[in-house]
């Protein structure tokens, strides 16, 4: 694999709240190479979106971001000033947000918003920016692109707006795109189209892609690497096929049992579930955070710092993974 575009080690986000210190992200490490897709999966409240904001330097002012390493194109961006970060954002690294309805400015035309990014980062030439905007709108599959430039966001459907967002993120030829739930608000047909488009464009422009989602169907189809997050930590990571074929962590296993799969689950059959809710992440946190929802939890899960155990490229943070539990079951019989 080529050189990583983004390398992150031990990324933490802490937010002081009235009850103490909230730890929404607790030591994440990952890297994304050019042309590679990393999917971050997890339930709402597990710190996925804050991770993406932390990478972009868009955290709320009260939040404290720390990391042992945060390198973009080999350059340390931990101490970058706001000015330097905004030179990167929208230029070399860009983001696609979940809600195309709210992330486009309703008071400006599509063309205006697309060209602004280009003029801010690359050149002040209006005609160049216009050409680039038309080229990219066509690229993302919008017909009669030139006339669309004069339209306002409310004149477009949700799918088209998300296409405009993608075009906007590509305006300056980024090396990394962070997409936070890019298709959650869209119809299934449009979802498939948008993902298809993202995968195609990624291959064409050789970009790194971080896709944040809770939909395992999307992950299976698009990811190279998968990172399963729970309560601000990675509980399992590895190549996409390994995660789906041999999930090791009970959380991953639980999530996979929750979804009805045409052809596999029978109609009306009971689906698996992960009972309980994500625990509070305020204060000092010890042991496995999943233990109160885990069917295999034992005494040993309450203490210690859950480290990732790696076997080849596939790592998990469970003290009692599949193999151990199977051995125990056999011993008991």
């Amino acid at each position: 694999m080529s050189q990583p575009v983004l390398e992150v080690e031990n990324l933490r986000v802490d937010i002081p709240v009235s009850a103490g210190l909230l730890h929404p992200v607790r030591g994440l490490s990952f890297s994304v190479a050019k042309g590679e897709t990393l999917c971050i999966v997890g339930e709402s409240g597990c710190g996925k979106s804050l991770t993406s904001l932390a990478l972009m330097g868009l955290l709320p002012k009260t939040a404290i971001r720390t990391a042992d390493k945060l390198e973009f194109r080999g350059e340390d961006i931990r101490m970058h000033s706001e000015r330097k970060m905004s030179n990167l954002r929208g230029g070399a690294m860009s983001m696609i947000f979940q809600e195309p309805m709210t992330s486009l400015n309703p008071a400006y035309t599509i063309g205006n918003q697309l060209m602004e990014v280009y003029n801010r980062h690359i050149s002040r030439s209006k005609s160049e920016a216009r050409d680039r905007a038309v080229y990219l709108l066509e690229k993302v599959g919008i017909s009669s692109a030139a006339s669309r430039l004069g339209q306002y966001p409310h004149q477009l459907s949700g799918g088209l707006r998300q296409r405009v967002m993608i075009a906007m993120s590509l305006m300056c030829g980024p090396e990394l795109i962070i997409a936070d739930e890019p298709t959650t608000a869209l119809d299934v047909t449009i979802q498939a189209q948008i993902l298809h488009l993202l995968a195609e464009l990624q291959a064409e422009f050789d970009m790194g892609l971080i896709l944040i989602t809770h939909d395992l169907g999307i992950v299976a189809r698009i990811a190279d690497k998968v990172q399963v997050m729970y309560a601000g930590k990675t509980v399992e990571e590895g190549p996409c096929a390994d995660i789906f074929d041999t999930p090791m962590h009970p959380y991953t296993q639980g999530l996979l049992r929750c979804i009805p799969v045409p052809g596999k689950t029978r109609r009306g059959e009971r689906l698996g579930s992960v009972p309980g809710v994500v625990p509070s992440l305020v204060g000092d946190l010890k042991g496995c955070m999943f233990r109160n929802r885990c069917p295999h939890a034992a005494e040993s899960c309450t203490a210690g710092n859950m480290e990732l155990h790696a076997e080849g490229g596939h790592a998990h943070a469970c003290l009692r993974p599949l193999a151990d539990r199977a051995a125990e079951m056999e011993a008991a019989q």
């Binding site: 189209q193 169907g217 299976a220 189809r221 929750c258 799969v261 045409p262 052809g263």
Partner: protein, 339 residues
Amino acid sequence: MSLAEPLPGAAPAAPRGLTPPPALETRDVTCVFQVSQGFMKGKKPLRAVNGVSLKVPKGQVVGLVGESGCGKSTLASILLGLQAPTDGDVRYSGESALGFSRKQVARRIQPIFQDPYSSLNPTKSIRSIVSQPLRIHEVGDPGQWDRQVDEMLELVGLPKRVAGSFPSQLSGGQRQRVAIARALIMRPEIVICDEPTSALDVSVQSQILNLLQDLKDELGLTYLLISHNLAVVQHMADRVAVMYLGRIVEEGPADALFKAPAHPYTRALLDSVLTPDPSLGVPDTHLGAVFPNPINPPSGCSFHPRCVKCMDLCRTQAPAPAIRADHMAECHLAAEDAA
């Protein structure tokens, strides 16, 4: 009073010896809105629902699928009596519901909406939300209402202490359970579930689907399940109807329809379902991004501009329903197959 026992004023039992009429039936329902074209430009008709005939047999789950803008939600409002159809008839167990008062309709049919964050009044306690239908319909003895609410909360899997809480104190899954409790407290025959799980996390989604399944068996409910998640529809539904631009373009038993879809649109919808199979890539549905303008629908078959199998005939002539056994499709290709 047990939960299975009908409340006074509920639907009459079907006469013996006859096949009972479907719990819910629409006959050629059409709903036309007059849409303004701008200042001084007059109005144009928009046929949101265009001649829909749908039967929901008692005790079954019928899935209604289609993209946004196809008229699913308008049809749901018509069924719920919130919107009067321009033409056609809506029947509950064979009785025409068009003359029903709002209260009569609410007795028979209840909705569960997509977003439990906006469908519950944030200033009311859960007890007040769930018991509101009882208060409005003045059912039974007010002294019993609290007990009925407790029973209902238990049935949907919520702890009793939740009754005193407010919606903001509950999680998304718990709120959706409250919405279900509110819909079921009047013991309706039919429940319209409009995207009941799409605002929820996967782990919560499966719990709500399991609950809906259990309640259906326990209370003998009939569901119309509106969803664009075909995996969910396939999991729940006995029959499936596919809607496109105000019309039902394919309808049939779920198994047959998913195994061998007769309409190219159904095929495209099925292809867009992302099953968690890492050996497959992202599908290319060839559907194009543009949903046709319903004010100015395409000539002939309304799906033809997006159809990969479009023929000359499709551009000029709208297909008639082709029926094979109990599987209907509105497509010239299906008509050829049937002939």
